[in-house]
Amino acid sequence: MDGTNYRILKKETYSPVTYMLEVEAPDVAKASMPGQFVMVRHNERGERIPLTIADYDREKGSVTIVIQAVGKTTKDMMLLNEGDYILDFIGPLGEASHVSNLGTVIFMGGGLGIAPIYPQLRAFKKAGNRTVSIVGFRNKELVFWEERLKEYSDELIITTNDGSYGEQGLVTDPLKRLLEERKIDLVVAIGPLIMMEACAEATRDFRVKTIVSLNPIMIDGIGMCGNCRVTIDGETKFACIDGPDFDGHIVDFGELRNRQKRFITEEKTAMEQMAV
């Protein structure tokens, strides 16, 4: 049927659980803007999962996603290779990030969030900002996209938990230092909830606006189910159509953390089934 079967043009593996797929999707690429995401269903029995767009190439007609194999679907997808097809690839979805020339912008990336900061970084750099990227990995072996990030970062700071590369520590350490040292106009943080929350907490006292990209569980990704509802400043919003970008200072992270735990039991069942 038209609109299905998207070919994987390129696959790169960055760690035992992290991989990149560049997917042929010319119409999606043409419409994509920084901050947006796609919904992916890899086969007939698959779930629909949201993945933030990590890059798009309008001329080549491709969209790149970087995935962490943490559940059944993302582990299944890791078995796909170049030349294979993804059944459904829907996007671009969500609101695009507001990009303008603000001054100095810091991009925080952790875990699965390292790649998705790239389109925003590029757009903010092209809009004339001074850009600083701070990305964190567990160790040197897991570092990826250093060259790509460098291209659009005036400064690139890499942290590792064990100190095997770059600075030892968490991404919030250099963030706090920079907030003390100079005037920062915006922080964009994408990564695990705990990391985004820590970034928002670090910037709160400095009153530096901090945009986080929320990635709650979604089914349709187009505002139909309400599974992705998040509380922003006491108001219910849908991450899929109102977000995924929100002001990190007014996100109810506690609630979101709880909602992310909703399917722990089912995820276990699915993984056991997979092991059989």
Binding site: G3, L87, F89, I222, G223, T269
Partner: protein, 474 residues
């Protein structure tokens, strides 16, 4: 039968020919169809109850204008293919509509037998019989006009879009349907459960559209991948029809709404129907429900949610409704089926809060009892909370089915598209044209109908718009 002698009411049975159903205790545990449909003998017997009125009120009661007495006459004669031809002049989807239309308030309400305290002719069952037979026999050649140089984009493959596409393609237009999800059918697929409308029925009747030359593109969210402006200016479409449905679930609006275990009926039905969550872990999407399910609301969607939940074998499924059974907006047949299958009902009960089990999950629903006021200006009785009547109902899953609101994607992405205060698209009631020339809208997203509409009314809007689109493009 003597054709020349006029049949009168004294010649027919006061009762409908019964239709076979799965036994309640059995069907409450499976997803197979509840109603099994007529066979040839039953259909002809039921058809023969029709008095062939000179001025048939059944046909005027049909939103899409099917020539009902004519197709029923063909059934009695045994020319089922001709019956199919007559139906499909007005409606390409008899197997769908025969199942989901509220015939009791439409065609069958007008039946002369009904007016005489007899049971109406089972028009819905007959329509379904013909539709199903046509699918089985692979009928499906339709007369199509000479190709016109008109290209129309249909946004959404729900009932309004399908009906609009059918009429336009029959009129010789080039039609492309853009569907946001990965399956064709809109609410017919994600909303209405398998046991009321099997997916294969929707897929097969939609296949007839493709035989007519309609192109369907899945996974295209218009307003995101292409804007309506792009469709008209860059993609060469002469007109566009927006039939995206309302879709956005109305919130529950009480504390505890974001606890785990609380979800909209849209979410639950999408998980189970569209994603086949009832087959988890064979299919990857879990249903998200537990053992003690409470559905809030009492419309048709609430009935669907409750009956779907029941089929997943939980300990208990109950419904909370703040008014009484009499005010329930659900079809009587749905209410009856739900009761028969074992759904429990708590009438005159209003939820006020959802209580946490201490780990972020639902434990109980705090409720108050209500009494009904005198009807207000809208003619509806309000539910008034009774003081000091607070009590709790245990639940580990709460599904709220409180209607839907306008989905904002098209509105936000289409400059100049006028919408009302609630975000529904304003249309001319006669032509269904929006504030943008060449852009039409119908079904739940259009302001002329608003909420709580039916499949067949959406189809009617799609047909009206198709006619207006032809006029516009001429």
């Amino acid at each position: 039968m003597a054709e020349n002698k006029k049949k009168t009411i004294r010649d027919v049975s006061p009762y409908k020919t019964p239709v076979k159903e799965q036994e309640p205790q059995i069907r409450a545990r499976n997803f197979d169809e509840v109603i099994l449909g007529y066979n040839i003998e039953e259909a002809r017997l039921e058809g023969s109850r029709c008095l062939q009125c000179k001025r048939p009120l059944c046909a005027t009661g049909c939103p899409v204008g099917i020539n009902i007495p004519a197709f029923v006459r063909e059934i009695v004669k045994g020319d089922f293919k001709q019956a199919y031809t007559i139906i499909t002049e007005a409606n390409l989807f008899p197997s769908i509509c025969g199942r989901v239309c509220p015939q009791e308030t439409q065609c069958e309400a007008g039946c002369v037998l009904n007016k005489n305290k007899y049971e109406a002719v089972g028009i819905g069952r007959l329509e379904r019989f013909i539709g199903d037979l046509a699918l089985k026999e692979s009928w499906g050649e339709f007369s199509v006009s000479r190709p016109k140089d008109i290209k129309v984009a249909i946004i959404g493959s729900g009932p309004s879009g399908l009906a609009c596409a059918a009429d336009l393609s029959k009129a010789g237009c080039e039609v492309v349907i853009y569907e946001a999800l990965h399956t064709v059918g809109g609410v017919l697929i994600y909303g209405i459960p398998e046991f009321r409308l099997p997916k294969r029925i929707v897929t097969s009747e939609v296949e007839n559209l493709r035989k007519l030359g309609v192109k369907i593109e899945l996974n295209r969210v218009i307003g995101k991948i292409f804007t309506i402006e792009q469709l008209l200016k860059e993609k060469g479409f002469n007109a566009a029809f927006i039939g995206t449905g309302a879709g956005y679930p109305s919130p529950l609006g009480i504390p505890g709404e974001c606890l785990n275990g609380v979800m909209s009926a849209n979410e639950f039905l999408t998980r189970v129907n569209l994603m086949q969550g009832y087959e988890f872990p064979l299919f990857d999407t879990p249903s998200g429900m537990g053992e003690n399910v409470v559905v809030i609301g009492c419309g048709n969607t609430a009935m669907d949610a409750a009956r779907v939940a029941l089929r997943m074998n939980p300990e208990k499924v109950s419904i909370i409704y703040r008014r009484s059974e009499l005010e329930s907006p659900a079809r009587r047949e749905e209410l009856y089926h739900a009761k028969e299958e074992g759904v429990e009902f708590n009438w005159l009960t209003e939820p006020v809060e959802i209580l946490d089990d201490g780990n972020g999950w639902v434990k109980e629903i705090g409720c108050v009892k209500t009494r009904l006021s005198e009807p207000d200006e809208s003619g509806r009785k309000r539910a008034v909370p009774i003081e000091n009547s607070y009590f709790v109902i245990k639940a580990d899953t709460v599904i709220y089915a409180l209607g839907t609101e306008a989905n904002p994607i098209i509105r936000k992405s289409t400059a100049g598209l006028r919408t009302d205060k609630q975000g529904y698209i304003e249309v001319d009631p006669n032509t269904h044209m929006t504030s943008i020339p060449g852009v039409f809208a119908g079904g739940d997203i259009a302001s002329d109908i608003g909420r709580f509409t039916t499949v067949i009314h959406a189809m009617k809007a799609g047909r009206k718009a198709a006619k207006a689109i032809l006029d516009f493009c001429r």
